[in-house]
């Protein structure tokens, strides 16, 4: 078995790159929808929605699903990006696993907060 002294053995690591690419490609579509739907198709103040307009928008089922999906995908992409940046500091195997766990917690908290936010707003419409 070929092993290098500078790296640790472990499971295949292509998944993080693959998921970064998959979420990245998905974001091309989701960010475009998000930006256009929010700022380019409304004629309210400066391309922004009024309070009631926001509530009506987010309570539309298809919009809720798209925005919820956007939140999940962008968070996964962001956490994988942060993981990549932090790993570039040459962390030990133990610290890498700690970083991964911390980012899972941060990602889950971000998605949970985001869903709570749009859920509350949708319920007020």
């Amino acid at each position: 078995m070929a092993t290098g002294p500078a790296i640790a053995t472990g499971s295949p690591r292509s998944r993080s790159w693959r998921w970064t690419a998959i979420t990245g490609v998905s974001l091309l579509a989701l960010v475009t929808i998000h930006m256009v739907a929010h700022h380019f198709v409304v004629d309210e103040i400066g391309g922004l929605r009024t309070y009631q307009h926001v509530l009506d928008y987010i309570s539309t089922p298809i919009i809720f699903v798209i925005e919820g999906g956007f939140l999940v995908v962008v968070t996964i992409h962001a956490m994988l990006g942060l993981r990549s940046v932090l790993f570039d500091f040459g962390l030990s195997e133990r610290r890498r696993r700690l970083v991964e766990r911390a980012l899972v917690v941060l990602g889950v908290a971000t998605v949970a907060y985001g869903f709570a936010l749009i859920g509350i707003l949708a319920s007020r419409a």
Partner: protein
């Protein structure tokens, strides 16, 4: 006969020093004077304690790799006339400095997968015998083990665990044409946090490589292999350009 006097600012460090320092020398130069010749002039005329490593003088041995005004270069084929202003000479980055411009290449070689077979045995004459204290010849195909790629890599600037472009390019070459090597073991070795997935495709290694190994392209090909897709190295790493091989592309 010299045409001009050039200023060289040379990195100096000896083990035991508190910190590296820069030493300035005025060196006579003409149109073809190389950085290595200028450093040798300093060594012979002004300071015999200047530490530098060199051997062949024609970009074949890879021992004289340094940074000239921030860019990775082989000192033996870099002319002073190609550098504007003061010529700042530093050791290659991301490796421990042993002495002035000499870095610890053991830390470079240690990044390669172990064991790593040579890939170019036919290069050696059967009647040749290694020098005293050397049991075996070693040479990676094309790569002259100068370390310039590792110095240029922005990821290696912060991650000493990253195996780096040369080791990954070597692994890809062996996977591409294993010649009896353990292909699966090399793939497993490359598929690590500090392996092929640490590269962020800045392509600085390819820019710095004086031997046309094109490590970045090889890392991309290696990733494609790791992702279990169809192998098509001809497309991923095409034949070398005509300027190198003399053949049409």
């Amino acid at each position: 006969m010299s045409d001009a006097v050039r200023t060289l600012r040379v990195h100096r460090f000896k083990r035991g020093d508190d910190a590296p320092r820069v030493e300035e020398h005025l060196v006579p130069a003409h149109e073809g004077t190389t950085v290595l010749e200028a450093l040798r002039w300093i060594q012979l005329q002004e300071d015999p304690t200047l530490g530098l490593r060199h051997s062949c003088f024609h970009a074949s041995c890879g021992t004289c790799g340094v940074r000239v005004n921030g860019r990775e270069r082989l000192a033996c084929v870099t002319r002073l006339s190609d550098v504007e202003g003061a010529v700042i000479v530093d050791p290659i980055a991301n490796l421990p400095v042993l002495h002035d411009l000499v870095v610890d290449m053991a830390a470079f070689v240690a990044r390669f997968p172990q064991p790593h077979p040579i890939v170019r045995e036919s290069e050696f004459l059967p009647e040749s015998s290694p020098a005293d204290g050397i049991d075996d010849h070693e040479r990676y195909e094309d790569c002259i083990e100068c370390g310039l790629c590792l110095s240029a890599c922005p990821v290696a600037a912060t991650d000493d665990t990253y195996v780096g472009p040369a080791a990954l390019a070597y692994a890809q070459r062996m996977i591409e044409e294993s010649r009896g090597g353990d292909r699966e073991a090399l793939l497993h070795w490359a598929d690590q946090d500090a392996g092929a997935w640490r590269c962020h495709a800045a392509f600085e290694c390819t820019e710095a490589c004086p031997s046309d190994v094109r490590p970045a392209q090889r890392i991309m090909a290696l990733r494609r292999e790791l992702r279990g897709r169809r192998t098509d190295h001809d497309r991923a790493v095409p034949d070398r350009p005509a300027t190198v091989t003399g053949a049409s592309a």
